[in-house]
Structure formats: C-alpha cells, structure tokens
C-alpha cells in the first residue's frame, strides 16, 4: 500500500507558504515529474535548489517538515482509527467544485472530513449571512434549506451563529444533506461530533476542515474558512449582509467570478446592503427563493470607509 498521507500533510501545512505554492509543488511532483511525494522527500538539497527552485527559507521549512514525519505518522494513525478521512487535492474524493471555484491558487492542499464523503460530490449551495441575523432572515434561511433538501442539493455552512447555524439545523430538519466547514482543526470538534453523531453516521452531515487537525478556533481561521464555504458551493444564497465583512466580500467575490449569487431582498429598500449587492450583479429573490425584479438606479455610491 502506498501511503503518502504524512507527506501530504507535511506539505499542506508548510508554515508561511501560500496555498498556490503548495499546490504547485504537489502538481509539479506528482503530475509533471510523475514522482511520489515519498520519493520527493528523499531529494537532497541540491535537487531541491536546482530542480525545484527552493529558496533558503523554503529549504529550512522543508527540513523541519521532514523531521516531523514520524510524528505525523502517529497523527495519521489516530485519524484513520477514529474514522476521519484525509483527502489530498488530487484524490477522487476531493470535491471537484472546490477546484473549479478556487483553482490552484486557493484550493486547500488537503482536507479532513468525517461523515459520508459522497456528499462532497453533490450539487451544493452556500447559505451565508450575519451572525446576528434577524428573525426574518433566519426564516428565509429555513425556507431555502427546505428548498435545497427538496432539490437534493447540499447546504454548505460554516457553523457560526445566526444564518450558518440555522442553515444547518434546517437542513437536518428537512432531511437534507449538509457540509459543515470548520473554522478549526477537525480533532477539536468533539462536542459537534457528539451532537451530530447520528447524522454523520447515517448520512446527512459531513464535517470538513482544511486546517491542521489540532488547531483551535480563531478569528483568523474563521476568515480563512469563509473562502472554502464559497469554494464548495455552486450557488450562493445571501440571507443577510452588511456592506463589509466576510459575507459581503465573499458575495462580491462570487459575483466577480460569475457565479450565481442570490440575495434575499425583502424590503425593497434602496439603502440596504442587499440593494448594493443587487447593483453589483446579485440576483434578488424573495422569501421563498423566487426571483424578483428590481430596478437599479445608476448613481454610484460612495463607501466612506474606503475613500482614499
């Protein structure tokens, strides 16, 4: 059995390396050179410098990573034994949509999951919105989750308060499938695994994390995690947003990348952030997720925050 998990993990969590650098390295080794990572890790310094263009600092990173390989074996053993899946970027189990959306530049080099991996290949939508969303937006989220369950689509959410949590709970309520994208390492989610034990084992929920398995929650990871929520989804449903923050920038990014971004636009209020999103190309929808028509005025707005 050719097991490369430790090498994958070592590369995936190289400190200070950009996602792109890591992915390019993996592609270079596996696809261009048809090498195994196992063999690659045996490369000497000269090969790394001359053939792989490693810089001094990268050589140190690499050496440190290599030193920790036997220890990673113990971690991998634990993960396997406890029913987690380790999915490297070129695995068949890796969500294809993630690669399509995030490309080499931002796709995580490795993901860790627990739950039914088939869910990762289904059509998925992200339901996003503020942590302190109002009653109405939560009800809207519930409606969309139901619609998705009816259409056999998977709901991706981030396990934050507010819209995220509602999306998950509703998806479970309507027997839909969901992906929980963690803002932390997968081994630090014990209480969640307890809570969703049934759904995880009987299909319905898969938990996914891209971070080192024992990393605790942090704002930084929560921010980084947002990208992966959008990355896993074909369509994006915005339940409620401000004109800044993770929801907003993710939605804008989605529009820019020509993906369908739907925004709940209940009050026909041209001062609302939803209206701003619509002006930028989001598709307005109503309480039941049906498209609605909105007239857009042409006057450019000024966001004082960003005025130089």
């Amino acid at each position: 059995m050719d097991n490369e998990y430790i090498y994958r993990i070592a590369v995936a969590h190289m400190p200070h390396w950009t996602q792109e650098r890591k992915n390019l390295l993996v592609i270079d080794v596996l696809h261009k050179r048809k090498m195994s990572l196992r063999d690659f890790f045996e490369s000497d310094e000269n090969t790394l410098k001359n053939e792989f263009n490693f810089e001094e600092k990268e050589l140190t990173d690499f050496k440190n990573a290599k030193d920790s390989l036997p220890n990673l074996s113990f971690q991998v053993e634990k993960l396997i034994n406890e029913g987690y899946k380790i999915i490297p970027i070129n695995s068949d189990l890796y969500p294809k949509i993630m690669k399509e959306n995030l490309k080499v530049k931002y796709s995580p080099t490795i993901i860790y999951t627990k739950g039914d991996v088939n869910i990762l290949q289904e059509n998925a939508v992200a339901i996003v919105g503020s942590r302190d969303a109002d009653e109405n937006s939560l009800k809207f989220t519930d409606n969309i989750a139901k619609k998705m369950a009816d259409e056999y689509k998977v709901v991706v959410s981030g396990f934050a308060k507010g819209v995220d949590k509602q999306a998950l709970d509703s998806s479970i309520k309507y027997n839909g499938n969901s992906i929980i994208v963690l803002p932390q390492g997968i081994l630090t989610f014990d209480s969640g695994f307890k809570k969703y034990y049934n759904q995880i084992n009987n299909g319905g929920v898969i938990v996914l994390s891209t971070f080192p398995v024992d990393a605790g929650w942090s704002t930084g990871l929560a921010m980084a995690r947002n990208r992966y929520i959008y990355g896993l989804a074909k369509e994006i449903y915005v339940a409620q947003t401000n004109t800044s923050g993770g929801t907003w920038s993710g939605a804008i990014d989605g529009i820019k990348r020509q993906r369908d971004v739907f925004v709940y636009y209940p009050e026909h209020n041209t001062k609302s952030p939803a209206y701003e999103l619509i002006k930028k190309g989001a598709i307005p929808i109503d309480f039941n997720g049906e498209r609605i028509n909105v007239e857009i005025s042409q006057k450019p707005i000024q966001l004082s925050m960003f005025k130089s």
Partner: protein, 884 residues
C-alpha cells in the same frame, strides 16, 4: 499640467459611472500625481506607476497611455530626461521616510483578524479611526481582541501614512499579501500556523531524525562490537549484526529467529546508539506486561535508559515518563499496543524525537498469528504511515509463510527478511495419547516425579489451572496457578517466584512465558492441544533457553480435538446480533457493558463481537466507548466463515502433529517453512518410545480421593465483609457438573449422596463455627436445594432454616448474561421473616450452581443488613468464567 490632470479625472469619472464604482476605485489621486510626474507613454512604463498592476493596466492602460501620449505630443515634451523609478525603488524611498517597525506586529494582528476583508485604507481606518467608528464597524475585533488602551495608545501618535507605509513594507516582505483587484484586500500570507499550532518542534533544536544513521555511516563490525562491550557483550551473532547493519541503514527488517537467540539485543543496541548520537527514542511495541517489565529492569540494571508505559502504572508515572521522553531522557520506550488508544500518550507523541519503531512478537500483527489482537491493527496503520527512510524492526520466533506475507504487505516490499534455523536441538519432543482427564492427571504425576528442575504446565482453560495445581499439591509437589484473571499483585508475585524457582511447576494459561528470558525452564507440558502448531512452537520454545536438554510433552486426547472444534465453531455470537449491534452503534455510541446488556451478550461474546467489528473497520474505539465509523464497509460475514475454516485447518495440522509417527521437530520446522533440518534423533518417534501406564490403578485411587475433597474457592466482598464461596466442582465438562445438570434439568432426582458427603467434608475442612444453614429458594419450583441442605445439616448436626423466601417471582438468572442485569433481576426479591432467628449468627448459605455470584451477593447483603454476623457459601458447581 492642469490639462492632463483634468483629462485623467474626467476619464476616471466616466469609467466610474459606467462601472458603478466610486471613482477612487478606478485609480486614486496618488496614481494621478505620479502619472503627471512621470508621463508614462507605454504600458511598461505605466506598470511602474503606483497603483497600476495587471488588472488596472488591462482595463484602463490603453486609454491612459493614449491620453498621456497625446498630451506629450501635443505639448512637445522631451521625455528623455524623465526617469520613471521602478516601483520597488519608490517604495524603498518611502520606507526610509515613514515606516515604523514597532507597529508591525499590531498591523499583522489586525489584518489577521480581518483576513482578506479589507484593503490598506480599511486597515488604516480600523487602526486610526475614532473609537465610535471602530465600535460600529468592527464589533468583533473591538470586543474580542484586547483592543485595550495600550494597543490604541500605541498607535495614537502614528499617522495614517506611517501605518500605510508600514503595511506596504510588510507587503514587500511577503508577510502580508495584497489581493489583486478593483478593491485590493490584505491578508496574511497564509494563515500563520506557527502561531496557532500549540505543539511545535523548535526548528533550531531539531536535529535530523535519522542523524544517527546519517552521521555514523560506520558499518565496521569491529567498531560496533567495541561499543557493544559497554553493554556487557563481546560479539554479535552473525544474524544480529545483519539486522543491526540494516537498521543503521534506515531499512525495514523482519527477523525470524528461535526463542533465546538474542533478538532483543538487535534493537537494544541500535536504540542505544541512536540515543547517544541524537537523543532520539525508539518505541518498542510489546504485547505482554511481564515481558516489558523484565526487559526494562534488565536494561536499567545495565545503566541504559529504558522505560515502559503500562496501564498498571499510575497516570502520573506514565506522564512523568512521557515528559522525560519529550526531554530526550529516554532511549527505549516499551509500550503495549493498547496504549495507542490512550489520549495522554497521543498528546506527547508529536513532541518526542523518534529514532525507530520495533514490533516485538510481530506474528501478532498477522491475522494468521495465533494471538492476533485488534490493537495490533493500529500498529499496522502506524507502520504503514511511517516515512520510508525510517528504521523499523519486526521480531518473531514463529512465522509461517502466510504470516510473513502479511507482514510484508504492511511493511512494504523493501522489507529485509533475516531468518535463522528454527531447529532447537535441545528440545526433546513427546506426545502421549490419553483417553480422558484422569489419564492425563496420571501422566502428570508420573512425569513430574521423574523430572529434575522446574517447568510449566499449560492448560487451555483458566479453571483447569486451578484443578491441576491443586492436584499437584495434593501429591506434595510445590506448584501455583497463573492466568490473566488474577490480580496484578498476585501475578507479579508468581512471576517473581517462577523466576526464582520457588515452585517446581507453574500451571498456567499461555499468558505466562511469552518472551520471558528465563533460561532454565526444564520442561513444558501441555494438558490440551493448542489451536495450531505455530502457537505450540511458540509455547514450547520457552523451554531450554540455556541450551540444555529440556522435555516437551503434549498430553493429547481425541476429545481435545472435539472440544477445540466446538470452540472454533462457537467462538462468535449469532451473525444477526452483529447486524443488530451495527444498527445500534450507528445511532449512538456504546460501551461494552451497555451493548452486552441490550443485546443479551455475555462479556466474552461482547468482546469478541466488538473486536471483530473493530477489526473490520466498522467501529471505532474511543477509550471505553465504541463509535460507528462513518465510512464503514459492509460487515464481511464471509470472512468469519473463511476464518473458521482456516482455524479448523490449522487445528487439523496440530492434530496431525499429535498423531504423527515421524520426527516431530522436523514436522514443526517444516510447518514454519524451515526446510533445512534432518530428523532430530531424540523425539519419541525418532527414539521409538512406548508409553505404558504402569501403576495406573494406584494413582487412579488417589485421583478419586483428591476429587472427594477438592473444591474451588472464590471470595466475594459485600459491604466490606469478605464472603468465602466454595464450590465442589466446575460446571460443564466435569463429572459433578454432569450430575448437577442431570438432576436439575433432566429430572434425574435428588442430588446423590456422594455430593452430600463431599459437601460435608469440605464444610468441615473450611468453614468453622457455623450456627445455621440457609439455602437459596428456587426460582420456579422444586425442592432440590432444600432437600440437599437438609441432608447436609443432618449429617453435620447443624440446624437448618426454611425461612429465606422470595417476595416476588424473578426471571431465571440464566436469561441474563451480564451481572448487572442479574443483580437488577433480584433486587429486593429475598426476605427473612423471623429476624431473631438469624441475628448475630454465622450463616452457611447453600446453592446448586453459581455463575456470576449475583444471587449470593444479593442474599448476603440482605442478611448482613439484617443482623447476621458472617456469611459463608457452598455451591455444588460453579460455571467457568473468562475462558469459555
């Protein structure tokens, strides 16, 4: 110049309206200033203008260059003395003016909090804006992250441009990234895990893990033998050196050498060398506690740094050892495979510098091995995931080609196999065919009386160890029994006495002896045939490590074969229960106890089932709780059938050994793929021995006497009172067991006089000062026990009472497989009316069969709570626990 400025801003406004964006988003005033200053007329030149990167150049580049070119041409401007500095140059210059490295950390921290959310000006606003702005927009940061006065105070006297320029410096240094785009956002290069991850191996401290091997490529045997002398040995045996050489080369090695060869030295030497060179630690997985203790003590005595982690040590002791391991103070750490489950251990392992992994008794990792253990599967997973240039050693004395194949699959094709001949010229093999247990008991006495030195008798069942040990003692032979069910202190004590030859014989299950380095075991006798020749070779291999002639005797009866077949056939609970269990575990985690209760499983069956499910990757073990594996495969029921067939086949080969008529040593070695040997010349077949049963009748009489007084003791603790429970015999495959069964379930009438007589004998011998006899009232009806108790009382001339009654109907205890359920079934079910009759009395309680002691426990507790002084218990039979 005014003209150009106007043109640029007009252009910008038009674009902004078209794109529905604020004008500054198209390009900002800084950019306009630079364009006017440097007049870029090509896209390359424009690229050096502040704010222009690929995206803006693509979108507006052509237009701007056109505007500027027209302007230059129109005004006839000579561009030759205008030098457009590269962006870097400009930044360099700016940096010198207004950067402040002291605030870098705060900036990075802030950007980290809003990773990817804001651009430069956004971040500057956050750091420089008024309190209310921050409060409004950045609640989270404001409240969560100690945005304490110190933080803000620090920034108070920095201007926005200082902060902005410092941010640019950080971008230059790649510490933060600026995303491309209309509204560029800042983010941390990648999430900086070094800050988040709690456990990190310090880069500066970590020496190459394989430093030992890399730096010391000295493969000179003389050189290493000199080092070896420090451990008290002169020379390596050839195969020891072969192994060591490969380990030093970071290879994976399997060594198959007979017991007593000196396999441990291979890894002990290498581990020690690695430790001296790089303070790295070798982990040795070893299946037996006694073995670990032994080796650790031996190594410590030589001044080597060895420790073991076991469940027998306290948590603090284990933690202390692990801390020492992290601090590079331990060279060899023995652990049992089960320890992989331990969370504490897992917490430390990432920080321990590792040199090598050793798997002792490696045949256990193969399902073909006779004592495959699920936890060895975890070792497989581990080994499977270790890096390739990392030394691994697997060690065994017994491996069939199938086992080797299995190990090879796991350790990879590069596995080096080193094997010696398994032929042991000092073991004299015999097999005596018997017709029943009595004949076996006869032979034991005859054999032992004729043998010098000390030895082991192996029994298949725990219960038999007690019986045989008592039988030996009855014959004046000093013996003790040993099995996994004894408590730790007792086991330790017996092991110790075993080493010091305090007993002539230890009667044991196969729990004793594997890997133990006792040199002078002179004989090994088996009371039943083991499951397969591999187990047998493994067990007899423990004799004669000193090379002196040792006797190996198998007492074989055809009935053994049937019994073993029965066990193999019935080793698992019903397959339907497996499916049911899986459904249950899918919905919620279970402990063994809970599962056993809900599925009416005995402790053993629950163990078997959970091990099987674990082995098939269907469930996960987390501490004492079992969870479903969300990616579980289907239950492989065929595997059970297949495995059963294999086991029967292997058993067949063992039977063949017993019935073999040619050299027995050659048979065993050939079975273990060692084809090298000729007939041994000393086994019973080579010597053509005949065994005749001289004086059988004399010993048979003694056996009868022995049985008439033999009883089994078991002590029970109720509310702090010790209660002695004596049984005349085991239930099951015994004469008395059969009688009890017939009377109780086959209407064979009252218990015969023989049992009354034996009971009286035993009561007289063990129980003094009994005031009153009580008996356990029957579940349904019938007066068997009542009758029995009255007859005993009469012969002993002690009064008996019928006053102990049931207050309600209870289910037959047989229905319940777990003790807890049994206790529940009986709760408050017993009553004694005339309390005065029992007050302050010494009571003897009589019952027919005891299984879990639950009934006895409940009644004793009731009696003791109602004024009784002491309780003793006599039962006719006791079921065999733990080894059925």
């Amino acid at each position: 110049m005014e003209n150009l400025y106007k043109q640029l801003t007009t252009y910008r406004l038009n674009v902004a309206q078209k794109e529905n964006l604020p004008a500054y988003c198209i390009f900002d005033n800084n950019s306009i200033d630079e364009i006017i200053k440097y007049l870029p007329t090509t896209l390359d030149e424009l690229n050096n203008i502040r704010g222009f990167k690929e995206q803006r150049i693509n979108k507006y580049g052509q237009d701007i260059v056109k505007i500027v070119t027209e302007y230059v041409e129109h005004n006839n401007i000579d561009k030759s003395n205008i030098h457009i500095p590269a962006k870097k140059e400009k930044r360099e210059k700016r940096k010198e003016e207004t950067i402040d490295t002291e605030i870098e950390e705060i900036i990075v921290d802030c950007i980290k909090n809003f990773n990817g959310e804001f651009g430069k000006s956004g971040i500057v606003k956050i750091l420089k804006g008024s309190d209310s702005v921050r409060k409004d927009y950045y609640k989270e940061l404001y409240y969560k992250n100690a945005i304490n006065s110190r933080f803000w105070g620090y920034l108070k006297d920095r201007t926005g441009s200082v902060i902005g320029n410092t941010i640019e410096k950080l971008i230059d240094e790649n510490k933060i990234l600026q995303t491309d785009g209309i509204r560029p956002a800042l983010r941390i290069s990648d999430v900086d895990y070094s800050k988040i991850k709690t456990k990190k191996i310090e880069a500066t401290e970590s020496i190459d893990i394989n430093a030992a091997a890399y730096t010391d490529k000295n493969m000179n045997r003389d050189y290493h033998e000199k080092l070896l002398s420090k451990m008290g040995y002169e020379k390596f045996y050839d195969n020891q050196w072969n192994v060591i050489e490969k380990l030093l080369n970071n290879q994976r090695v399997l060594i198959i050498e007979k017991t007593g060869f000196g396999k441990s030295l291979c890894y002990q030497y290498v581990a020690n060398l690695f430790y001296e060179q790089s303070k790295a630690l070798a982990i040795v997985f070893s299946p037996l506690l006694s073995l670990m203790r032994d080796q650790v003590n031996g190594l410590k005595a030589k001044g080597l740094r060895a420790e073991c982690i076991t469940g027998e040590q306290t948590e603090e002791e284990n933690v202390k050892i692990l801390e020492n391991a992290v601090n590079g103070k331990i060279a060899i750490l023995y652990i049992s495979p089960e320890r992989l489950e331990n969370e504490i251990w897992l917490k430390y392992i990432p920080e321990i510098k590792l040199s090598m992994v050793v798997i002792d008794e490696a045949h256990c990792i193969s399902q073909w091995g006779h004592d495959f253990r699920p936890s060895y599967r975890r070792i497989l997973n581990l080994v499977n995931n270790l890096p390739s240039k990392f030394p691994i050693l697997a060690v065994t004395a017994t491996a069939t080609s199938k086992v080797i194949e299995d190990i090879k699959i796991q350790l990879g094709d590069e596995l080096e196999i080193i094997r010696g001949s398994l032929y042991r010229d000092n073991l004299q093999l015999h097999c005596i065919t018997c017709n029943n247990l009595n004949e076996k008991m006869y032979w034991i006495i005859r054999i032992i009386n004729n043998l010098k030195g000390n030895g082991i008798i192996y029994c298949g069942k725990r219960a038999d160890t007690v019986l045989i040990s008592e039988w030996l003692q009855y014959n004046g032979i000093k013996s003790a029994y040993y099995h996994g069910g004894l408590n730790k202190d007792l086991r330790l004590k017996i092991e110790q006495s075993f080493f010091e030859n305090e007993y002539k014989v230890i009667v044991s299950t196969n729990a004793l002896g594997m890997g133990v380095d006792k040199k002078d075991i002179r004989y090994i006798i088996h009371m039943q045939i083991p499951e397969n020749p591999m187990s047998y070779y493994q067990e007899i291999g423990r004799a004669g490590r000193d090379g002196k002639l040792s006797q190996i005797i198998l007492l074989y009866s055809h009935k053994d074969k049937e019994l073993s077949e029965f066990f193999i056939e019935n080793c698992r609970p019903n397959i339907k229960k497996y499916r049911y269990a899986i459904q249950k575990i899918k919905n919620k985690p279970y402990s063994k106890l809970n599962l056993a209760n809900e599925l009416y499983l005995s402790d053993n069956d629950a163990d078997t089932m959970l091990n099987d499910l674990f082995d098939q990757n269907i469930i996960i073990k987390k501490g004492s709780v079992y969870e479903y594996n969300p990616n579980a495969p289907q239950l492989d029921e065929d595997y059970f059938i297949w495995q059963k067939q294999q086991k029967l086949k292997e058993l067949g080969k063992m039977v063949k050994y017993a019935e073999y008529s040619q050299c027995r040593m050659k048979y065993l070695c050939n079975y273990l793929e060692d084809e090298s040997i000729q007939a041994c010349g000393i086994c019973d077949n080579c010597k053509k021995y005949k065994f005749n049963m001289d004086n059988f009748q004399k010993i048979k009489n003694k056996i009868d006497d022995f049985y008439s007084q033999f009883s089994i003791a078991d002590n029970l603790y109720v509310n702090g009172n010790e209660i002695e429970v004596r049984s005349l015999s085991y239930y099951g495959d015994t004469e008395i067991g059969q009688i009890v069964h017939n009377c109780k379930y086959e209407n064979a009438g009252n218990f015969p006089d023989g049992l009354v007589l034996k009971s009286v004998k035993i009561i007289k011998k063990y129980f003094k000062n009994i005031d009153l006899i009580l008996y356990v009232p029957p579940t349904v009806s019938g007066g068997l026990v009542e009758n029995f108790a009255h007859r005993i009382a009469k012969m002993l001339n002690i009064s008996v009472s019928d006053g102990l009654v049931k207050t309600r109907n209870t289910e037959s205890q047989k229905m319940f497989k777990s003790k807890r359920k049994k206790l529940e079934n009986l709760k408050n079910a017993f009553f004694f009316k005339e309390k005065g009759e029992i007050n302050n009395k010494n009571i003897l309680l009589i019952d027919d069969i005891t299984d879990s002691n639950a009934t006895i426990e409940v009644i004793s507790e009731y009696l003791l709570n109602n004024g009784v002084k002491t309780v003793s218990v006599l039962t006719i039979a006791r079921t065999v626990k733990g080894d059925e």
